[in-house]
Symmetry: C2
Subunit: 238 residues, 2 copies
DNA sequence: CGACCGGTTGAACTGCATCAAGCTGAGTGG
DNA sequence: CCACTCAGCTTGATGCAGTTCAACCGGTCG
């Protein structure tokens, strides 16, 4: 746990590295509500925890993570967002998380007063928040009750469309000839902070999966799943 | 980790014990939208994870926890709700959690079709979900990054109005003559499953706090905080 | 009174963190 | 084109916080 720069005010905090999409998008887009689309490069901070919450954001393209820091520098990535997701909503006056891009991203910014007015916007919001709640619930199980191997397996499975989530069918008993190519776009540090582990543990688990032939590591952030179903069985959910 | 009865269908699962409110209520009530108010006794299941999501619920009185089970019986309590909170909203066709009362409770049930129609309801919902999101973010930090002592300290501080949460002022350097009486309404098992610990660890930490004079344990679920500020400093947040 | 349930306490174990090297590949400059 | 550097990653050795297993305690209920 380094981040010794962390126990200070929002703007003084330094950025971190990483970057990759995580799950399938919610249908609706908020383009109809106007708002500027801002372009951010990778590892750019959209806003800081503790900053006044001024706008609502919709991730249009790329990927963004939300994280919180403890005063001693420990970090927890609480969400990894994908296009269609909404963030920046706060029930207080301040943002409760820092939002930082993982990859170059496009973010639509919508004035909070608009939200009060538009009925349609409220409807989309409810839908989106409900979905994020489900994801957070599942993540709480991961953080509170899963082993390191189960966390990493769950993380990887979540990157496979229609697998790993609540609606996952579970492993296909017979043939495990399913394979899948992943681009993580996150550093080991970001993955570790998302999974509540250390960088070393993540690395060790990945190496172990490799050794067992479940995955192939082409580059640190480019992983091929040799046996999707075997991996699925390692998530603790089947 | 017992719960061996868990790896089965929703209705077959057995109930668990416990019960206590956790934080201050959101202003709005949904009484204006009608809906029946159901009375549940303590440790009653309102709905099961996996059941078709038919209605929206508002906790009127009492306290309710939401939890998820892994097939091998490990449990994670993902939320502890207090009056004013809304639950049962699902973005799929099924509930993603089991909802169980901690104490005798009153729960208002609202038809999901109402939600589609009412603009005002949407507004209240957005507000309520945003608040729950913030709580879930904070809980992710607890589960992913805090030590056992920090978890228990955070848990207890959350039960003190205006303390423990994001808006907590932090410990008052000087006089720590603040003291406070708590009624937990949760068993050690429920607390452990909420904090991602074992029952033994919770017990040991509580005993330790007692030994150090930070708290006084009148009954297992009736705890007096002798030094609120000392406890506050043990949450890892100051 | 005995059984049972929730809680506490102790002893031993272990999974993950911590500490410490070494490795790899991209960028830089001579 | 090669030496150097530096960041991100991997690997090994060791330590410890929290789990596991087990015994016991106190209150309650039949």
């Amino acid at each position: 746990m380094a981040y010794l720069d962390a126990a200070v005010t929002a703007q003084e905090r330094s950025a971190r590295r990483g970057g990759a999409p995580v799950r399938a998008a919610v249908e609706a887009s908020l383009s109809e509500f106007g708002g500027k689309v801002a372009h951010h490069e990778a590892h750019a901070v959209v806003y800081y925890e503790g900053d006044p919450a001024r706008r609502l954001y919709e991730l249009v393209k790329g990927s963004v993570m939300l994280y919180k820091l403890l005063p001693d520098g420990r970090r927890q990535v609480v969400e990894v967002l994908r296009p269609g997701d909404i963030f920046g909503l706060s029930d207080g006056a301040e943002n409760d998380c820092t939002a930082e891009t993982l990859t170059a991203s496009e973010v639509r910014e919508i004035d909070l007063r608009q939200v009060e007015r538009s009925e349609e916007l409220q409807r989309v919001l409810t839908k989106c928040l409900t979905n994020q709640m489900r994801v957070l619930h599942e993540h709480a199980v991961l953080l509170g009750r899963k082993s390191a191997v189960e966390r990493v397996a769950s993380f990887l499975m979540h990157l496979v469309p229609d697998r790993g989530g609540a609606g996952c069918i579970g492993p296909d008993e017979d043939a495990d000839e399913d394979s899948y190519d992943l681009q993580l776009h996150m550093t080991r540090q970001e993955i570790a902070d998302y999974l509540g582990l250390t960088i070393e543990t993540v690395s060790r688990v990945v190496s172990d999966l490799k050794r067992r032939g479940v995955i192939r590591v082409d580059k640190a952030d480019k992983i091929h799943l040799n046996k999707v179903c075997t991996l699925c069985q390692m998530t603790g959910m089947h």
